[in-house]
């Protein structure tokens, strides 16, 4: 198991202090539960207190921009951490890239202005293969995966290739920054994505070769190991991960599987595990990690707000919505 040390860097004391004060303004689990029990009107009233409006996506966009600006400002004291704030932008750029690759003439989803690549540059990247516009330092990697995504052309193939591009570039930047915590977070994230795909395709009774197309090789789980798992029962797969940090995710999924032959709980458990990693940073007084923990925490907040509002609009029951709500950062 990968071990890690926190940076414990006192250079970010101001930032950590600010984050601790901001944490008090985040939405807690009991508030989310209350929202799930209320009507849409009462939800809009509640979220207004936290700076979100009826137009949720627009207010999330605003909040994301504010959070990104804050994080960039707080970590600017150390140059090797600068690339980490780029991860945030990279995520938005990949979202735009996927959207554009899927339907270049009339993108289904609106262009996300949070990324650092403009709409015009995006067209240049895809149409004229000017991959250095995507990432100056790693234009080769970017070029390879964008070309692969265009070759695959199916929505799931494009998603897979661009997600791989995002994860590869992220892990490269994280290694350069030497922040162990983020390295562990992203490795576990990739591993869980691989396990999620493995369980999904196994459930769908697809061949291992099909799963192979969706395998992320930048994680710590080798393909041969996953091939072995593919032949095992879902309840037995959980036992193979007993020594992993994320063992509880598999254990709870296996329990749910035995109970009602359902794998839906994996996604919630995966997110809850990643949130628990983010929550660790709340216990730190110094270091750059609490700043990233807050960033992850805000993402969970957006996700929970979407779950509740979409759930209410789709007229799901309170229990169904509560089941889907992720463990909060505060």
């Amino acid at each position: 198991m990968m071990t890690f040390e926190f940076t414990n860097d006192a250079l970010f004391s101001f930032g950590v202090g600010k984050i601790k004060a901001l944490e008090t303004k985040m939405i807690t689990r009991p508030i989310f539960d209350q929202m799930a029990e209320g009507s849409l009107e009462s939800i809009y009233k509640s979220i207004a207190e936290y700076g979100y409006s009826v137009n949720l996506e627009e207010s999330i966009l605003k909040s994301k921009k504010t959070t990104y600006d804050l994080v960039t400002h707080l970590i600017e004291k150390k140059e090797r951490y600068h690339i980490l704030s780029d991860l945030y932008l990279l995520q938005e750029d990949c979202y735009n890239l996927k959207n554009y690759l899927k339907s270049p003439k009339s993108p289904v989803l609106p262009f996300n202005p949070l990324g650092k690549i403009s709409q015009k540059d995006l067209q240049e990247i895809v149409n004229n293969k000017r991959y250095h516009l995507f990432d100056k330092m790693d234009s080769e990697i970017a070029g390879y995966y964008i070309a692969q995504a265009m070759e695959r052309s199916t929505p799931s193939g494009i998603d897979q290739m661009i997600d791989t591009l995002f994860l590869e570039l992220s892990l490269k930047k994280i290694r350069q920054s030497e922040v162990d915590y983020l390295n562990v977070y992203f490795h576990d994230y990739v591993d869980l994505l691989n396990i999620e795909n493995l369980l999904r395709f196994k459930f769908m009774k697809k061949d291992f070769s099909y799963f192979s197309q969706f395998y992320f090789h930048c994680g710590s789980l080798k393909k041969r190991f996953l091939e072995e798992l593919y032949r095992e029962k879902i309840e037995d797969i959980a036992l193979r991960f007993r020594s992993k940090r994320y063992a509880s995710v598999l254990q709870k999924t296996a329990e749910a599987w035995i109970k009602d032959q359902n794998l839906n709980s994996f996604e919630v458990e995966k997110d809850n595990y990643l949130n628990s990693l983010a929550r660790i940073t709340r216990l730190l007084t110094f270091g750059v990690e609490p700043i990233f923990g807050y960033l992850f925490g805000k993402e969970t907040e957006y996700k929970n707000l979407r779950i509740i509002i979409n759930g209410k609009q789709r007229k799901l029951s309170v229990d169904q919505i509560k089941e889907m709500i992720r463990q909060t950062y505060v």
Binding site: F14, K20, A21, E23
Partner: protein, 158 residues
Amino acid sequence: MTIGLFIAGMGIFISVVLAGIGSAVGIGLAGQVAAGVMSEDPKNFGKYLMLIALPGTQGIYGFVIGFLVIMKLGILTGTVPSLSIAQGLNVFAAAAPIGFAGLVSAIHQGKVCAAGIEMAAKQPSDVGKALVMGVFVEFYAVLGLLISFFLVWFGINL
């Protein structure tokens, strides 16, 4: 200047400068965290003030011992004493405890106070508990001060 007097001077230097460095670092840590918290929540400045100031006491203790040594040596009266090496070492050993205890305790107290400010940012009513934790660290600086005080007051015979 004799070597003995130089060594005694080093004792004064250590008590004042090391304890002062410790306090500066400690206040720096607590102060930066408090500034971060107050950038979002400016109304609680009064609550954090004691926690910011607490690591500053070691610097004062170091200064007090340094001043006592100067008085004991009679430097303020204008008569520079002639000290043997043994007497110089005697003064050095008397002044050193607060220097080292002050340096280490102030830095750690700064960390405790910084954590206390972060705790108080979430639960302002718990600021008293944070202060108590900081005072525990202070206890060891006070022990250093007492030892230096007794050694300077009773242990230096010129």
